[in-house]
């Protein structure tokens, strides 16, 4: 009994550490092949690259934990980025514009939530439809052109391009979001409800959890995270791109799954997602550093995803 408990704990620990080990192995390999990789400046660079995907993937983690999926994040990112840029360009206070942008992201996400809960649509289809709609809306709003002339607001530039104590601001935002969402997911009842819904929706209803409300909030959260990512990208590119964020949903989902969260809901951790995003980021950055042609990069990325997921399965 004692013994088996220890075994179980060991197994669980390994389960949790699986993705971390994968990440470390990957980093060691890349470093051996190109020591530039491990240079602090490249690592910070890597973290900054990861931040956008990580932010989206954090929101996606909640969605997937409920057994859902959000394909619209890329379009939400583009639309809220464009709207923020538009507001700033037309003279609105940048801070206010960013706040409104995040609210808009939340509203776009809540629309998904309502289609799924009140409309009883499958998350895949609901967010596939809004993905198309939000992208179309972005193109209509921008007329297919990037929005520029965002001007010289320090604070807006700071969000995507600034440094604080030598650390890029997007990285700081990522860490802050991680801590907040970690507490929300693991230390507060909202997170408990998220797991409960994904684990057994009917029982959760009977236990008095307001399924529709929690789900809608979760999709709103996902939309908000996408819009934060959108603001960072807009700031970094000093312009809002109508095509921004295309196919980002796939990277975010991959990060969540690589981090050990199950697509059928109820199982997983946001820490895993962070690691998953770092694995993908390391792959992107590493393969570039190693000069692997972009065609082969795709093959390698696909294979690494398969191996990582298969190893995770084996362990169980």
């Amino acid at each position: 009994m004692e013994n088996s408990m220890k075994k179980n704990q060991l197994k669980e620990l390994l389960g949790k550490l699986g993705p971390v080990l994968a990440l470390l192995v990957l980093m060691v390999i890349v470093t051996i092949l190109n020591p530039n990789f491990i240079a602090p400046i490249n690592l910070l660079n890597l973290l900054r690259q990861v931040s956008v995907n990580a932010l989206i993937a954090f929101g996606m983690t909640f969605v997937i934990l409920t057994g859902g999926i959000d394909l619209s994040v890329g379009s939400t990112l583009a639309l809220s980025g464009a709207l923020v840029a538009g507001m700033i360009a037309s003279g609105l206070d940048p801070i206010l514009a960013m706040i409104i942008g995040v609210v808009i992201g939340g509203v776009l996400g809540a629309v998904n939530g309502l289609l799924i809960t009140k409309g009883k649509m499958a998350p895949f289809i609901a967010t596939l439809a809004t993905m198309t709609i939000y992208r179309g809306a972005t193109l209509v709003y921008t007329d297919g052109n990037p929005i520029t002339g965002i001007g010289d607001s320090f604070i807006f530039k700071f969000v995507g391009r600034g440094y604080l104590f030598n650390i890029p601001v997007p990285v700081i935002l990522m860490v802050m979001a991680f801590v907040l969402l970690y507490v929300l997911l693991h230390k507060m009842t909202f997170g408990r409800k998220t797991y409960a819904i994904g684990g057994n929706e009917k029982a959760s209803y009977i236990a008095g959890i307001k399924i529709d409300k929690v789900k809608t909030l979760i999709y709103a959260l996902s939309g908000m995270m996408a819009s934060v990512a959108g603001i960072i990208i807009t700031s970094r590119l000093n312009s809002a791109q109508p095509t921004a964020g295309q196919a980002y949903e796939m990277d975010a989902i991959a990060a969540v799954v690589l981090g050990g969260t199950s697509l059928s809901g109820g199982k997983g951790r946001i820490f895993g997602t962070l690691i998953g995003a770092l694995i993908i980021g390391t792959l992107n950055n590493g393969l570039n550093l190693l000069g692997v042609s972009s065609f082969y990069q795709q093959i390698v990325k696909g294979i690494v995803i398969i191996i990582a997921v298969l190893l995770d399965r084996k362990k169980k």
């Binding site: 507490v183 009842t189 057994n200 029982a203 236990a207 008095g208 109820g266």
Partner: protein, 493 residues
């Protein structure tokens, strides 16, 4: 707290499930609610606790009219419901399960695990439950999960407690513990509604019995003023003479034999043989490993060592498909998740394991399939509008008959039945026993796993007892008694 339901009616679509039902339960009593599968017992309680909306009727609580819009509201008011279908979260820990929806938190909204643990420990102590609070529920036995459900309900300080078939998955020891708790609650003046198909325990613990049939209340009586036969008559609407119909099948040659099969950590060196026309009962405590043995024989789980013979020829049943080809049928203990495709029609369920036999040049011969399904439905007296309605809309007993029909349809030489009457009402039970006899008469070798001792004794020709994954011994029908079987099942003490 007293509850009173008056003139409750409810229909799901065209299906009138409750018609003008009256029911009441007062503080300090155990009021049993009985009736065939689909009589409407669970639905009535779901209406009381706000999961379903009534169509008509009035609900009084302590004399005042009162309705709940969801179960949580009812619970907060003091009415707890332990549901028939288990409402656990298998990927969450015991502690998390206990407190879902009512976690303790501090003023910053942070969950207070320490406080919750202390509270849970004290409840477990009271119930004499020994469980690791940090264990995942998926690692627990069904019985242990049921205990969590009970603990959950008691934690709320319920004034009214509804238990819908709470003992269906409990061991004898756990049942005893539960009955002690019920006694305790009665003394605390809690009103208890107790739903069960187990006649013995009803008479053991309840004060009053209400019988329902086809959505109507047939009558309410004091336990002291009635007996088993009376209750059964009210339930099924006719006299039910012998529960266990007499078996006349001739027992022939050995049809099926397993020799020394083992599976590490599950069972060890199990050997037995079944003859044609014979019914062999497998008894044992919950979790003794009976299901695991049968699953392994049928090829669902792997066997580490040992051999299986059918009609003296060695066979390797590496998966269910091979087992079926060799004439083995297996009715699993969990009909919803393993026995049926709930969205499929009765016909499609019945023909599924034999579907490859219904093809002409690769195309399904629908006429032959129709006739096949209709024949089997008639033979098993499945009560349904027609063969094309979905199985999910049938009552539990009728669903079980469909599962049986599909296995009879493969023309089995050997039929393994794991808890074939679990959750099935008395009337349907008797029909299932009758069918087993008919099959035996046709020479089928039958293995029946059951946790219901009277059933084992009433139906089997021979009884094998499993204890901790090993055969503890066996008795022919003539020598078997509840006492000697329990003795073997508990390891001889």
């Amino acid at each position: 707290m007293n509850i009173l339901l008056q003139g409750i009616s409810k229909a799901f679509g065209e299906n009138k499930v409750l018609v003008n039902v009256d029911f009441d339960c007062v503080g300090g009593e155990v009021h049993a609610l009985m009736g065939e599968n689909g009589a409407g017992k669970s639905t009535l309680m779901n209406i009381l606790t706000g999961l379903h909306k009534k169509d008509q009727g009035t609900i009084f609580i302590d004399g005042k009219e009162r309705y709940f819009s969801n179960p949580k509201e009812a619970e907060e008011y003091g009415i707890s419901f332990i549901h028939q279908e288990m409402n656990t979260w298998s990927e969450m820990t015991v502690l998390e399960n206990l407190f879902i929806g009512k976690e303790l938190k501090n003023k910053f909204g942070i969950i207070q695990n320490k406080k919750m643990e202390a509270l849970a420990k004290s409840i477990f102590e009271e119930l004499t439950i020994e469980l690791d609070l940090s264990a995942n529920v998926s690692d627990l036995s069904v019985g242990q999960q049921q205990m969590i459900e009970i603990a959950k309900a008691l934690m709320t300080d319920a004034k009214v407690l509804i238990m819908d078939e709470p003992t269906a998955a409990l061991t004898e020891r756990e049942i005893l513990a539960l009955f002690k708790i019920i006694e305790l609650l009665k003394q605390k003046n809690v009103a208890i509604v107790y739903i069960s198909h187990r006649m013995e325990e009803i008479f053991q613990i309840s004060d009053r019995i209400t019988v329902m049939r086809d959505g109507l209340t047939v009558g309410t009586m004091k336990v002291a003023e009635t007996d088993v036969d009376d209750v059964v008559r009210k339930m099924v609407g006719r006299e039910l003479s012998d529960y266990y119909p007499k078996k006349t099948a001739r027992i022939g040659e050995v049809r099926f034999e397993v020799k020394n099969i083992s599976s590490k950590g599950k069972f060890n060196q199990v050997s037995f043989a079944v003859r044609s026309g014979e019914i062999v009962g497998f008894s044992g405590l919950m979790g003794a490993g009976r299901t695991e043995i049968m699953r392994a024989i049928f090829g669902i789980d792997p066997i580490d060592s040992g051999k299986i013979y059918i009609e003296k020829k060695e066979v390797v049943l590496k998966n269910p498909s091979t087992a079926i080809l060799n004439g083995v049928g297996f009715l699993t203990e969990d009909r919803k998740s393993e026995g049926l495709i709930l969205d499929f029609s009765i016909e499609d369920n019945i023909s599924l394991p034999s579907i490859d036999g219904f093809t002409v040049k690769g195309i399904i011969d629908e006429k032959a399939e129709d006739e096949f399904a209709e024949l089997l439905m008639k033979r098993l007296t499945v009560k349904a509008q027609n063969k094309d309605i979905s199985v999910g809309s049938l009552s539990g007993g009728n669903q079980q008959k469909v599962v049986l029909a599909k296995w009879i349809g493969i023309g089995p030489k050997i039929l393994i039945l794991d808890e074939p009457t679990r959750g099935v009402d008395v009337g349907a039970k008797r029909e299932i026993y009758q069918l087993m006899n008919e099959l035996a008469e046709r020479g089928v070798a039958i293995v029946m796993v059951s946790s219901d001792l009277p059933e084992i004794l009433g139906v089997s020709d021979r009884i094998i007892v499993i204890h901790e994954g090993k055969i503890a011994g066996e008795y022919p029908k003539s020598e078997a008694t509840q006492e000697n079987i329990m003795k073997l099942a508990t390891g001889g003490y």
